[in-house]
Symmetry: C2
Subunit: 167 residues, 2 copies
Amino acid sequence: MPDPPHAVDPVQLGAYFALIEVSGLLRHAIEQQLREAGDLTFVQFQVLMRLDQAAEGSRRMTELADAIVHSRSGLTYQAGRLEKAGLITRTPSPDDERGVTVTITDAGRALIARVLPGHEEVVGRMLFEPLSREDSQKLSDLLLPVRDHMRAAPPRSAAPRRRGAPG
Amino acid sequence: MPDPPHAVDPVQLGAYFALIEVSGLLRHAIEQQLREAGDLTFVQFQVLMRLDQAAEGSRRMTELADAIVHSRSGLTYQAGRLEKAGLITRTPSPDDERGVTVTITDAGRALIARVLPGHEEVVGRMLFEPLSREDSQKLSDLLLPVRDHMRAAPPRSAAPRRRGAPG
DNA sequence: GACCAGTGCTTCGAACTCGAAGCACTGCGG
DNA sequence: CCGCAGTGCTTCGAGTTCGAAGCACTGGTC
């Protein structure tokens, strides 16, 4: 019989396993560094990074949750912690009363600036040391389309809430 | 001044972010499928997979924890769940009374066989659909050395326990 | 203007995670 | 043989995660 539409061959299986392992190991190393350098979790760091990059230093909650691939309730929890630590503020969104706009504070930007060098050092040493400049480019060229492909698929977290039976 | 030893250029930053996003999105999609197909978490699935692949269907606890990049205490917890579900057994290791050998049961193998097709379908669709066969090969060629490089670095989980002040 | 499905965020409870501390055993030095 | 640092796993407590349910508001229809 013919192969199923998306069968996974041994090479792909190896790539898949390596991807999972690499991201796990990398994440673990990063968490160590962030904890020591600024008492931040990786999720918190990612939130601050996204805000730091954003126009006005602001984003909506849902936007952030999607960007860092985290549940909405989990983001609410972490936003609470970050707000308590004075690293972000939460204000009602001007154009939509339901929405909450999260904004990074000066203290938040300062903390990012403080931990970023060590962060980059870890990423450089763990992830890019065995890769040439060309390799890095190739890796980026491979992963960006995959990311876009995954993002294009309807995210489960945004699935419509079912009221009755779905079928 | 010269660049620091492991500075991260914009291309690398993009690759790094894409890697984190891709692994997060992939993991999320996989968790959905595993939950629906066999009421397994991704960690549990990985444990069973590693055991299924292993000689005799057996591995030591520490080996497993390292392989799937999970804390030892977390693995103890999950091993408890899997044992209760009849998917693995835990026995004292013959050559080292301290050690615990984990073995997959027939039920465990059956469960893996049951969820694997759907799992591969998800991985194929999410991760490999936008990649040619050649791309997949390239991705594997890039990630495997990175994995080996990360593994070569002393894993934090295996760091010697400090008894007094470290320095 | 009143309805009402849809959306944005938070609350809630249960489950899972981690590191530190603890216990049991190993294997080397004397 | 005994002591003792080192290792393998589990226990423990605190913190974090998720999805489901709940609340508040929006934007369409009539």
